[in-house]
Protein backbone atom coordinates (compact mmCIF):
# COMPACT_ATOMS: atom_id res chain seq x y z
CA UNK A 1 0.00 0.00 0.00
CA UNK A 2 1.25 3.49 -0.84
CA UNK A 3 -0.31 6.89 -0.40
CA UNK A 4 -0.77 8.73 -3.68
CA UNK A 5 -1.81 12.31 -4.35
CA UNK A 6 -4.57 12.84 -6.93
CA UNK A 7 -5.86 16.13 -8.36
CA UNK A 8 -9.26 15.57 -9.91
CA UNK A 9 -11.26 18.22 -11.72
CA UNK A 10 -14.70 18.55 -10.17
CA UNK A 11 -17.45 20.66 -11.64
CA UNK A 12 -20.10 20.95 -14.32
CA UNK A 13 -20.93 23.15 -17.29
CA UNK A 14 -21.08 26.22 -15.08
CA UNK A 15 -17.53 25.87 -13.78
CA UNK A 16 -15.36 23.86 -11.45
CA UNK A 17 -12.05 23.38 -9.69
CA UNK A 18 -9.33 20.85 -9.08
CA UNK A 19 -9.76 19.00 -5.81
CA UNK A 20 -6.97 17.10 -4.09
CA UNK A 21 -7.30 13.59 -2.73
CA UNK A 22 -4.80 11.40 -0.92
CA UNK A 23 -5.56 7.75 -1.59
CA UNK A 24 -4.06 4.47 -0.43
CA UNK A 25 -3.11 2.59 -3.58
CA UNK A 26 -2.34 -1.11 -3.67
CA UNK A 27 -0.45 -3.21 -6.18
CA UNK A 28 -2.12 -3.81 -9.54
CA UNK A 29 -4.48 -0.84 -9.37
CA UNK A 30 -5.30 1.26 -12.40
CA UNK A 31 -6.38 4.91 -12.35
CA UNK A 32 -10.05 3.94 -12.66
CA UNK A 33 -9.70 1.79 -9.53
CA UNK A 34 -8.29 4.77 -7.66
CA UNK A 35 -11.14 6.98 -8.85
CA UNK A 36 -13.60 4.38 -7.61
CA UNK A 37 -11.80 4.39 -4.27
CA UNK A 38 -12.10 8.18 -4.15
CA UNK A 39 -15.81 7.72 -4.85
CA UNK A 40 -16.09 5.19 -2.02
CA UNK A 41 -13.99 7.00 0.58
CA UNK A 42 -13.91 10.74 -0.19
CA UNK A 43 -16.42 11.90 -2.80
CA UNK A 44 -19.50 9.76 -3.31
CA UNK A 45 -20.79 12.19 -5.92
CA UNK A 46 -17.74 12.00 -8.21
CA UNK A 47 -19.05 11.38 -11.72
CA UNK A 48 -17.12 8.97 -13.96
CA UNK A 49 -18.28 7.15 -17.07
CA UNK A 50 -17.05 3.55 -17.16
CA UNK A 51 -18.23 0.12 -18.09
CA UNK A 52 -16.02 -2.85 -19.01
CA UNK A 53 -12.77 -2.12 -17.12
CA UNK A 54 -11.00 -4.06 -19.88
CA UNK A 55 -10.11 -1.39 -22.44
CA UNK A 56 -12.81 -2.52 -24.83
CA UNK A 57 -15.83 -0.32 -24.27
CA UNK A 58 -14.11 3.06 -24.65
CA UNK A 59 -16.18 4.64 -21.87
CA UNK A 60 -13.58 5.76 -19.34
CA UNK A 61 -11.67 8.19 -21.59
CA UNK A 62 -10.20 11.02 -19.52
CA UNK A 63 -7.07 13.11 -19.44
CA UNK A 64 -4.41 11.88 -17.04
CA UNK A 65 -1.42 14.14 -16.55
CA UNK A 66 -2.41 16.08 -19.64
CA UNK A 67 -2.74 13.09 -21.95
CA UNK A 68 -5.98 11.39 -23.02
CA UNK A 69 -6.02 7.84 -21.67
CA UNK A 70 -8.41 5.08 -20.75
CA UNK A 71 -8.67 5.13 -16.95
CA UNK A 72 -9.02 1.36 -16.86
CA UNK A 73 -5.82 0.76 -18.85
CA UNK A 74 -3.55 3.21 -17.08
CA UNK A 75 -1.64 1.32 -14.44
CA UNK A 76 -0.59 3.14 -11.30
CA UNK A 77 2.90 1.65 -11.45
CA UNK A 78 3.47 3.52 -14.73
CA UNK A 79 3.83 6.77 -12.75
CA UNK A 80 6.66 8.02 -10.61
CA UNK A 81 5.81 6.91 -7.02
CA UNK A 82 6.00 10.48 -5.71
CA UNK A 83 4.23 12.21 -8.59
CA UNK A 84 0.87 13.92 -8.28
CA UNK A 85 -1.61 12.49 -10.76
CA UNK A 86 -3.89 15.01 -12.41
CA UNK A 87 -7.19 13.79 -13.84
CA UNK A 88 -9.40 15.94 -16.08
CA UNK A 89 -12.35 15.50 -18.43
CA UNK A 90 -11.65 15.43 -22.17
CA UNK A 91 -11.01 18.92 -23.46
CA UNK A 92 -12.72 18.66 -26.85
CA UNK A 93 -16.20 17.95 -25.50
CA UNK A 94 -18.59 19.85 -23.21
CA UNK A 95 -18.46 18.81 -19.57
CA UNK A 96 -21.58 17.17 -18.18
CA UNK A 97 -20.13 16.72 -14.73
CA UNK A 98 -16.70 16.03 -13.25
CA UNK A 99 -14.98 13.57 -15.62
CA UNK A 100 -18.05 12.91 -17.76
CA UNK A 101 -18.28 14.75 -21.06
CA UNK A 102 -21.02 14.99 -23.65
CA UNK A 103 -19.71 13.10 -26.66
CA UNK A 104 -22.96 13.25 -28.62
CA UNK A 105 -21.34 15.46 -31.28
CA UNK A 106 -19.53 12.33 -32.43
CA UNK A 107 -22.76 10.41 -32.93
CA UNK A 108 -24.04 13.27 -35.07
CA UNK A 109 -20.93 12.99 -37.25
CA UNK A 110 -21.49 9.27 -37.63
CA UNK A 111 -24.96 9.90 -38.99
CA UNK A 112 -23.53 12.18 -41.69
CA UNK A 113 -21.68 9.25 -43.25
CA UNK A 114 -23.70 7.41 -45.87
CA UNK A 115 -24.14 3.76 -44.85
CA UNK A 116 -22.57 0.79 -46.65
CA UNK A 117 -24.06 0.43 -50.13
CA UNK A 118 -23.52 -3.11 -51.44
CA UNK A 119 -22.51 -3.69 -55.04
CA UNK A 120 -24.63 -5.89 -57.26
CA UNK A 121 -23.89 -9.57 -56.61
CA UNK A 122 -21.78 -11.62 -58.99
CA UNK A 123 -23.40 -13.90 -61.59
CA UNK A 124 -23.81 -16.72 -59.08
CA UNK A 125 -25.50 -14.39 -56.61
CA UNK A 126 -22.49 -14.15 -54.27
CA UNK A 127 -20.70 -11.14 -52.86
CA UNK A 128 -16.99 -12.05 -52.82
CA UNK A 129 -14.24 -10.26 -50.97
CA UNK A 130 -10.71 -11.60 -50.61
CA UNK A 131 -9.10 -11.95 -47.20
CA UNK A 132 -6.31 -9.42 -47.94
CA UNK A 133 -8.92 -6.80 -48.81
CA UNK A 134 -10.83 -7.68 -45.63
CA UNK A 135 -7.65 -7.26 -43.58
CA UNK A 136 -7.02 -3.77 -44.91
CA UNK A 137 -10.40 -2.40 -43.82
CA UNK A 138 -10.66 -4.61 -40.74
CA UNK A 139 -8.04 -2.51 -38.98
CA UNK A 140 -10.52 0.35 -38.75
CA UNK A 141 -13.14 -1.95 -37.24
CA UNK A 142 -10.99 -2.32 -34.14
CA UNK A 143 -12.08 1.17 -33.09
CA UNK A 144 -13.75 1.12 -29.65
CA UNK A 145 -15.06 4.69 -30.01
CA UNK A 146 -13.29 6.02 -26.96
CA UNK A 147 -13.06 9.31 -28.90
CA UNK A 148 -9.59 10.01 -27.56
CA UNK A 149 -8.42 10.65 -31.14
CA UNK A 150 -11.18 13.24 -31.48
CA UNK A 151 -10.09 14.75 -28.16
CA UNK A 152 -6.48 14.75 -29.31
CA UNK A 153 -7.02 16.34 -32.73
CA UNK A 154 -5.96 19.97 -32.36
CA UNK A 155 -8.51 21.02 -34.99
CA UNK A 156 -11.31 19.96 -32.65
CA UNK A 157 -9.54 20.28 -29.31
CA UNK A 158 -7.95 23.70 -29.60
CA UNK A 159 -9.28 25.42 -32.69
CA UNK A 160 -13.00 24.79 -32.39
CA UNK A 161 -13.38 23.73 -36.04
CA UNK A 162 -16.05 21.11 -35.38
CA UNK A 163 -18.10 22.47 -38.26
CA UNK A 164 -15.19 22.01 -40.71
CA UNK A 165 -13.60 18.67 -39.79
CA UNK A 166 -15.29 15.41 -38.94
CA UNK A 167 -12.28 14.19 -36.91
CA UNK A 168 -9.95 11.18 -37.14
CA UNK A 169 -12.41 8.61 -35.81
CA UNK A 170 -14.82 9.30 -38.64
CA UNK A 171 -12.13 9.75 -41.26
CA UNK A 172 -11.23 6.10 -40.65
CA UNK A 173 -14.88 5.10 -40.72
CA UNK A 174 -15.17 6.70 -44.15
CA UNK A 175 -11.86 5.06 -45.13
CA UNK A 176 -13.20 1.64 -44.12
CA UNK A 177 -16.18 2.14 -46.42
CA UNK A 178 -14.36 3.88 -49.27
CA UNK A 179 -11.71 1.13 -49.48
CA UNK A 180 -14.24 -1.68 -49.19
CA UNK A 181 -14.41 -3.47 -52.57
CA UNK A 182 -18.05 -4.36 -51.97
CA UNK A 183 -19.13 -0.80 -51.23
CA UNK A 184 -20.62 0.87 -54.28
CA UNK A 185 -20.75 4.42 -52.97
CA UNK A 186 -18.34 7.17 -54.01
CA UNK A 187 -17.35 9.09 -50.90
CA UNK A 188 -14.55 11.30 -52.21
CA UNK A 189 -16.54 14.54 -52.79
CA UNK A 190 -17.93 14.32 -49.26
CA UNK A 191 -14.44 13.70 -47.89
CA UNK A 192 -13.23 16.98 -49.30
CA UNK A 193 -16.27 19.23 -49.08
CA UNK A 194 -18.21 17.97 -46.07
CA UNK A 195 -15.80 16.04 -43.89
CA UNK A 196 -12.83 18.42 -44.31
CA UNK A 197 -9.99 16.08 -45.29
CA UNK A 198 -7.87 19.13 -46.13
CA UNK A 199 -8.13 20.44 -42.58
CA UNK A 200 -5.93 17.63 -41.25
CA UNK A 201 -2.28 18.64 -41.21
CA UNK A 202 -1.14 15.11 -40.37
CA UNK A 203 0.53 15.79 -37.05
CA UNK A 204 -0.27 12.17 -36.20
CA UNK A 205 -1.34 12.69 -32.59
CA UNK A 206 -4.50 10.68 -33.26
CA UNK A 207 -2.35 7.67 -34.14
CA UNK A 208 -0.22 8.16 -31.05
CA UNK A 209 -3.21 8.16 -28.72
CA UNK A 210 -5.23 5.26 -30.18
CA UNK A 211 -5.49 2.52 -27.51
CA UNK A 212 -6.20 -0.07 -30.21
CA UNK A 213 -3.03 0.78 -32.14
CA UNK A 214 -4.94 1.68 -35.30
CA UNK A 215 -2.63 3.44 -37.74
CA UNK A 216 -5.17 6.21 -38.27
CA UNK A 217 -2.87 8.56 -40.14
CA UNK A 218 -0.91 6.29 -42.48
CA UNK A 219 -3.65 3.77 -43.25
CA UNK A 220 -6.76 5.92 -42.98
CA UNK A 221 -6.39 9.66 -43.33
CA UNK A 222 -3.49 9.89 -45.79
CA UNK A 223 -4.95 7.32 -48.22
CA UNK A 224 -8.18 9.35 -48.15
CA UNK A 225 -6.26 12.58 -48.79
CA UNK A 226 -4.56 10.85 -51.73
CA UNK A 227 -7.94 9.85 -53.17
CA UNK A 228 -9.01 13.48 -52.89
CA UNK A 229 -5.84 14.44 -54.77
CA UNK A 230 -6.73 11.89 -57.50
CA UNK A 231 -10.11 13.53 -57.93
CA UNK A 232 -9.34 17.24 -57.54
CA UNK A 233 -5.65 18.12 -57.73
CA UNK A 234 -3.81 15.75 -60.06
CA UNK A 235 -3.91 17.45 -63.50
CA UNK A 236 -2.79 14.32 -65.36
CA UNK A 237 -5.48 12.11 -63.84
CA UNK A 238 -8.12 14.78 -64.39
CA UNK A 239 -7.09 15.12 -68.05
CA UNK A 240 -6.96 11.33 -68.48
CA UNK A 241 -10.47 10.94 -67.10
CA UNK A 242 -11.72 13.70 -69.40
CA UNK A 243 -10.07 12.09 -72.45
CA UNK A 244 -11.32 8.62 -71.63
CA UNK A 245 -14.80 9.86 -70.82
CA UNK A 246 -14.63 8.56 -67.25
CA UNK A 247 -16.12 11.49 -65.43
CA UNK A 248 -16.40 11.26 -61.67
CA UNK A 249 -18.56 13.17 -59.26
CA UNK A 250 -16.86 16.25 -57.80
CA UNK A 251 -19.72 17.80 -55.85
CA UNK A 252 -21.19 16.29 -52.69
CA UNK A 253 -24.67 14.88 -52.58
CA UNK A 254 -27.45 16.73 -50.78
CA UNK A 255 -26.99 18.02 -47.26
CA UNK A 256 -27.98 15.57 -44.57
CA UNK A 257 -30.70 16.38 -42.10
CA UNK A 258 -28.45 16.05 -39.04
CA UNK A 259 -26.38 19.15 -39.84
CA UNK A 260 -27.99 21.21 -37.09
CA UNK A 261 -26.57 18.87 -34.44
CA UNK A 262 -23.10 20.15 -35.35
CA UNK A 263 -23.43 23.17 -33.17
CA UNK A 264 -22.85 21.47 -29.83
CA UNK A 265 -21.33 24.15 -27.56
CA UNK A 266 -17.66 23.65 -26.81
CA UNK A 267 -16.40 23.98 -23.23
CA UNK A 268 -15.00 27.46 -23.63
CA UNK A 269 -18.15 28.64 -25.40
CA UNK A 270 -20.43 27.92 -22.45
CA UNK A 271 -21.33 31.30 -20.91
CA UNK A 272 -19.50 32.14 -17.73
CA UNK A 273 -16.78 29.55 -18.08
CA UNK A 274 -13.95 31.70 -19.39
Amino acid sequence: MANRHFRVWRGDHSGGDFKDYNVEVSEGMVVLDVLHKIQAEHAGDLAIRWNCKAGKCGSCSMEINGRPRLGCMTRMNSFDPTATITVQPMKAFPVVRDLVTDVSWNYAQNKRIAPFKPKAPEADGSHRMYQDDVDRVQEFRKCIECFMCQDTCHILRDRGKQSEFIGPRFMIRVAGLEMNPLDDDDRVPELRHEFGSGMCNITRCCTEVCPEGINITDNGIIPMKERVVDRYFDPVLIAARALLGRKKRTKPKGTHEVQEVLEVPRPHEVPGTQ
Binding site: E63, D132, N201, E226, F233
Partner: protein
Protein backbone atom coordinates in the same frame (compact mmCIF):
# COMPACT_ATOMS: atom_id res chain seq x y z
CA UNK B 1 -9.29 19.21 0.72
CA UNK B 2 -7.16 21.89 -1.00
CA UNK B 3 -8.66 23.53 -4.05
CA UNK B 4 -6.93 25.14 -7.02
CA UNK B 5 -8.93 27.61 -9.08
CA UNK B 6 -8.40 27.60 -12.82
CA UNK B 7 -10.44 29.75 -15.16
CA UNK B 8 -11.14 27.21 -17.90
CA UNK B 9 -13.77 24.48 -17.71
CA UNK B 10 -12.08 21.12 -17.27
CA UNK B 11 -8.97 22.78 -15.85
CA UNK B 12 -7.24 22.90 -19.22
CA UNK B 13 -4.82 25.80 -19.45
CA UNK B 14 -5.22 28.17 -22.38
CA UNK B 15 -2.67 30.11 -24.38
CA UNK B 16 0.11 29.35 -26.81
CA UNK B 17 1.95 26.08 -26.11
CA UNK B 18 0.05 25.50 -22.85
CA UNK B 19 -0.50 21.99 -21.59
CA UNK B 20 -1.00 19.84 -18.52
CA UNK B 21 1.65 17.41 -19.73
CA UNK B 22 4.39 16.91 -17.20
CA UNK B 23 6.94 15.22 -19.43
CA UNK B 24 9.58 16.90 -21.61
CA UNK B 25 7.19 17.24 -24.58
CA UNK B 26 9.37 19.96 -26.10
CA UNK B 27 12.41 17.66 -26.50
CA UNK B 28 11.17 16.01 -29.71
CA UNK B 29 10.18 19.19 -31.57
CA UNK B 30 13.37 20.91 -30.40
CA UNK B 31 15.56 18.05 -31.61
CA UNK B 32 13.69 18.10 -34.93
CA UNK B 33 14.19 21.85 -35.22
CA UNK B 34 17.91 21.61 -34.53
CA UNK B 35 18.46 18.64 -36.85
CA UNK B 36 16.50 20.14 -39.75
CA UNK B 37 18.17 23.55 -39.35
CA UNK B 38 21.61 21.94 -39.25
CA UNK B 39 20.93 19.81 -42.33
CA UNK B 40 19.39 22.76 -44.19
CA UNK B 41 22.29 25.07 -43.31
CA UNK B 42 24.92 22.53 -44.37
CA UNK B 43 23.19 21.62 -47.63
CA UNK B 44 22.65 25.28 -48.55
CA UNK B 45 26.31 26.01 -47.86
CA UNK B 46 27.46 22.96 -49.80
CA UNK B 47 25.17 23.72 -52.74
CA UNK B 48 26.52 27.27 -53.01
CA UNK B 49 30.17 26.18 -53.09
CA UNK B 50 30.21 24.83 -56.65
CA UNK B 51 33.50 23.02 -56.02
CA UNK B 52 34.94 19.85 -54.49
CA UNK B 53 31.87 17.81 -55.28
CA UNK B 54 33.73 15.22 -57.35
CA UNK B 55 36.59 12.91 -56.43
CA UNK B 56 37.16 10.37 -59.16
CA UNK B 57 34.99 8.23 -59.35
CA UNK B 58 32.73 9.65 -56.64
CA UNK B 59 30.08 12.30 -57.27
CA UNK B 60 28.33 14.00 -54.36
CA UNK B 61 24.57 13.27 -54.33
CA UNK B 62 23.91 16.97 -53.73
CA UNK B 63 25.30 17.63 -57.22
CA UNK B 64 23.85 14.69 -59.09
CA UNK B 65 23.03 14.77 -61.93
CA UNK B 66 25.55 17.33 -63.18
CA UNK B 67 23.86 19.33 -65.92
CA UNK B 68 26.69 21.82 -66.56
CA UNK B 69 30.20 21.68 -65.18
CA UNK B 70 32.66 24.52 -64.58
CA UNK B 71 36.05 22.98 -65.24
CA UNK B 72 37.84 25.92 -63.67
CA UNK B 73 36.40 25.04 -60.25
CA UNK B 74 38.49 22.81 -57.97
CA UNK B 75 37.02 19.34 -57.60
CA UNK B 76 34.52 19.82 -60.41
CA UNK B 77 33.08 16.93 -62.39
CA UNK B 78 34.77 16.20 -65.73
CA UNK B 79 33.00 17.17 -68.95
CA UNK B 80 31.96 13.60 -69.74
CA UNK B 81 30.04 13.49 -66.46
CA UNK B 82 27.94 16.55 -67.32
CA UNK B 83 24.68 15.92 -69.18
CA UNK B 84 24.96 19.05 -71.34
CA UNK B 85 28.62 19.99 -71.04
CA UNK B 86 30.57 23.02 -69.89
CA UNK B 87 28.93 25.90 -68.11
CA UNK B 88 27.13 28.21 -70.60
CA UNK B 89 28.30 31.79 -71.15
CA UNK B 90 24.77 33.17 -70.74
CA UNK B 91 24.62 32.19 -67.05
CA UNK B 92 24.05 35.39 -64.99
CA UNK B 93 27.26 36.51 -63.29
CA UNK B 94 25.39 37.23 -60.06
CA UNK B 95 24.48 33.55 -59.61
CA UNK B 96 27.07 31.07 -58.37
CA UNK B 97 28.28 28.49 -60.87
CA UNK B 98 27.03 25.54 -58.88
CA UNK B 99 25.48 22.48 -60.54
CA UNK B 100 23.63 21.75 -57.29
CA UNK B 101 21.39 24.78 -57.72
CA UNK B 102 19.96 23.30 -60.91
CA UNK B 103 18.87 20.00 -59.39
CA UNK B 104 18.32 20.45 -55.65
CA UNK B 105 14.81 21.96 -55.99
CA UNK B 106 13.54 18.51 -57.03
CA UNK B 107 14.63 16.46 -53.99
CA UNK B 108 13.98 19.48 -51.77
CA UNK B 109 10.36 19.68 -52.94
CA UNK B 110 9.98 15.93 -52.34
CA UNK B 111 11.12 16.33 -48.76
CA UNK B 112 9.20 19.55 -48.18
CA UNK B 113 5.86 18.10 -49.25
CA UNK B 114 6.49 14.68 -47.66
CA UNK B 115 3.70 13.61 -45.31
CA UNK B 116 6.22 12.77 -42.62
CA UNK B 117 8.22 16.00 -42.85
CA UNK B 118 4.96 17.95 -42.82
CA UNK B 119 4.30 16.56 -39.36
CA UNK B 120 7.86 17.38 -38.31
CA UNK B 121 7.89 21.00 -39.41
CA UNK B 122 4.26 21.78 -38.60
CA UNK B 123 5.14 20.78 -35.06
CA UNK B 124 8.64 22.21 -34.79
CA UNK B 125 8.57 25.31 -36.96
CA UNK B 126 4.98 26.54 -36.84
CA UNK B 127 3.82 24.99 -33.54
CA UNK B 128 0.64 23.76 -35.11
CA UNK B 129 0.59 22.16 -32.56
CA UNK B 130 4.11 21.97 -31.05
CA UNK B 131 3.34 18.52 -29.66
CA UNK B 132 0.34 16.34 -28.93
CA UNK B 133 -2.00 17.79 -26.27
CA UNK B 134 -0.11 21.07 -26.30
CA UNK B 135 -2.05 24.13 -27.47
CA UNK B 136 -1.08 25.43 -30.90
CA UNK B 137 1.04 28.55 -31.09
CA UNK B 138 -1.10 30.17 -33.79
CA UNK B 139 -4.66 31.28 -33.22
CA UNK B 140 -8.04 30.19 -34.48
CA UNK B 141 -7.52 31.30 -38.09
CA UNK B 142 -6.44 27.78 -38.97
CA UNK B 143 -7.21 26.52 -42.45
CA UNK B 144 -5.11 23.35 -42.53
CA UNK B 145 -4.10 22.40 -46.05
CA UNK B 146 -7.13 23.96 -47.71
CA UNK B 147 -5.73 27.38 -48.49
CA UNK B 148 -2.10 28.51 -48.59
CA UNK B 149 -0.84 24.95 -48.16
CA UNK B 150 -2.97 23.52 -50.96
CA UNK B 151 0.20 22.95 -52.99
CA UNK B 152 1.08 20.06 -50.63
CA UNK B 153 -1.38 18.03 -52.70
CA UNK B 154 1.18 17.89 -55.52
CA UNK B 155 3.51 15.72 -53.45
CA UNK B 156 3.10 12.87 -55.95
CA UNK B 157 4.75 14.96 -58.68
CA UNK B 158 7.74 15.56 -56.44
CA UNK B 159 7.71 11.79 -55.88
CA UNK B 160 7.85 11.09 -59.63
CA UNK B 161 11.01 13.20 -59.85
CA UNK B 162 12.40 11.47 -56.75
CA UNK B 163 12.04 8.10 -58.49
CA UNK B 164 13.97 9.47 -61.50
CA UNK B 165 16.66 10.76 -59.15
CA UNK B 166 16.86 7.32 -57.56
CA UNK B 167 17.77 5.85 -60.93
CA UNK B 168 20.45 8.52 -61.35
CA UNK B 169 21.86 7.86 -57.88
CA UNK B 170 21.91 4.13 -58.64
CA UNK B 171 24.02 4.95 -61.71
CA UNK B 172 26.32 7.11 -59.55
CA UNK B 173 26.69 4.28 -57.05
CA UNK B 174 27.42 1.80 -59.85
CA UNK B 175 30.07 3.99 -61.55
CA UNK B 176 31.73 4.59 -58.18
CA UNK B 177 33.08 1.04 -58.60
CA UNK B 178 34.78 1.96 -61.86
CA UNK B 179 37.64 4.34 -62.60
CA UNK B 180 38.35 5.32 -66.19
CA UNK B 181 41.66 3.84 -67.26
CA UNK B 182 41.97 1.75 -64.10
CA UNK B 183 38.91 -0.46 -64.35
CA UNK B 184 36.73 -1.91 -61.62
CA UNK B 185 37.58 -1.54 -57.98
CA UNK B 186 36.09 -0.62 -54.66
CA UNK B 187 36.69 2.17 -52.21
CA UNK B 188 35.14 3.52 -49.04
CA UNK B 189 33.45 6.11 -51.25
CA UNK B 190 31.83 3.34 -53.34
CA UNK B 191 30.31 1.91 -50.17
CA UNK B 192 29.21 5.34 -48.94
CA UNK B 193 27.48 6.10 -52.26
CA UNK B 194 25.83 2.66 -52.37
CA UNK B 195 24.48 3.04 -48.84
CA UNK B 196 23.24 6.49 -49.82
CA UNK B 197 21.27 4.95 -52.69
CA UNK B 198 19.83 2.27 -50.40
CA UNK B 199 18.73 4.76 -47.73
CA UNK B 200 17.15 7.04 -50.31
CA UNK B 201 15.39 4.03 -51.86
CA UNK B 202 13.99 3.09 -48.45
CA UNK B 203 12.70 6.60 -48.00
CA UNK B 204 11.17 6.82 -51.49
CA UNK B 205 9.56 3.36 -51.47
CA UNK B 206 7.85 4.19 -48.17
CA UNK B 207 6.41 7.45 -49.50
CA UNK B 208 2.65 7.63 -48.92
CA UNK B 209 2.02 8.86 -52.46
CA UNK B 210 4.17 6.04 -53.87
CA UNK B 211 2.18 3.54 -51.80
CA UNK B 212 -1.05 5.02 -53.11
CA UNK B 213 0.03 5.08 -56.75
CA UNK B 214 1.33 1.51 -56.89
CA UNK B 215 -1.76 -0.08 -55.41
CA UNK B 216 -3.20 1.67 -52.37
CA UNK B 217 -5.54 3.75 -54.52
CA UNK B 218 -7.46 0.64 -55.58
CA UNK B 219 -10.20 -1.04 -53.56
CA UNK B 220 -9.50 -4.53 -54.87
CA UNK B 221 -5.92 -5.53 -54.17
CA UNK B 222 -6.19 -9.25 -53.66
CA UNK B 223 -7.59 -12.18 -55.56
CA UNK B 224 -7.40 -12.98 -59.24
CA UNK B 225 -7.28 -9.41 -60.51
CA UNK B 226 -4.99 -7.77 -58.01
CA UNK B 227 -2.49 -10.17 -56.51
CA UNK B 228 0.56 -8.39 -57.93
CA UNK B 229 -0.96 -5.08 -56.90
CA UNK B 230 -1.26 -6.38 -53.35
CA UNK B 231 2.37 -7.54 -53.36
CA UNK B 232 3.49 -4.09 -54.51
CA UNK B 233 1.37 -2.44 -51.85
CA UNK B 234 2.74 -4.73 -49.14
CA UNK B 235 6.28 -3.99 -50.31
CA UNK B 236 5.68 -0.24 -49.99
CA UNK B 237 3.79 -0.69 -46.72
CA UNK B 238 6.86 -2.36 -45.16
CA UNK B 239 8.90 0.73 -45.94
CA UNK B 240 6.02 3.05 -45.06
CA UNK B 241 6.02 1.76 -41.48
CA UNK B 242 9.65 2.86 -41.26
CA UNK B 243 9.19 6.11 -43.17
CA UNK B 244 10.16 8.39 -40.30
CA UNK B 245 13.42 6.54 -39.64
CA UNK B 246 14.21 6.43 -43.36
CA UNK B 247 13.49 10.16 -43.66
CA UNK B 248 16.01 11.06 -40.96
CA UNK B 249 18.68 8.52 -41.83
CA UNK B 250 18.61 9.26 -45.55
CA UNK B 251 18.77 13.02 -44.93
CA UNK B 252 21.75 12.63 -42.61
CA UNK B 253 23.49 10.19 -44.96
CA UNK B 254 23.12 12.44 -48.00
CA UNK B 255 24.86 15.20 -46.05
CA UNK B 256 27.57 12.84 -44.78
CA UNK B 257 28.15 11.53 -48.30
CA UNK B 258 28.72 15.08 -49.52
CA UNK B 259 31.09 15.68 -46.59
CA UNK B 260 33.04 12.53 -47.48
CA UNK B 261 33.33 13.32 -51.20
CA UNK B 262 34.23 16.94 -50.38
CA UNK B 263 37.00 15.95 -47.97
CA UNK B 264 38.46 13.40 -50.40
CA UNK B 265 38.27 15.93 -53.23
CA UNK B 266 40.02 18.57 -51.09
CA UNK B 267 42.72 16.07 -50.18
CA UNK B 268 41.89 16.40 -46.50
CA UNK B 269 41.43 12.62 -46.20
CA UNK B 270 42.56 9.67 -48.26
CA UNK B 271 39.97 7.32 -49.70
CA UNK B 272 40.87 3.73 -48.92
CA UNK B 273 40.37 1.85 -52.15
CA UNK B 274 41.62 -0.97 -54.34
CA UNK B 275 42.91 1.33 -57.08
CA UNK B 276 45.81 2.92 -55.16
Amino acid sequence: MATTHLPVLGGHPQGAASTCRQDAWYAGPLATLLFLCTALAYMTWAALQGNHYYADPYLSPLYSPVIFTDLSAAGAAPSWHAWVGNWPAWWPAALPLSPALLILPFPASFRFTCYYYRKAYYRSFSGSPPSCWVSPVSGRNYKGETSLLLFQNLHRYAMYFAVIFLAILFYDAAVSFYRRGEGFGIGVGSIVLTINFLFLSSYTFGCHSFRHMIGGGADVMAGKSGTFRHLRWKFSTWFNRRHMAAAWISLAWVSLTDVYVRLVSMGAINDLNSWN
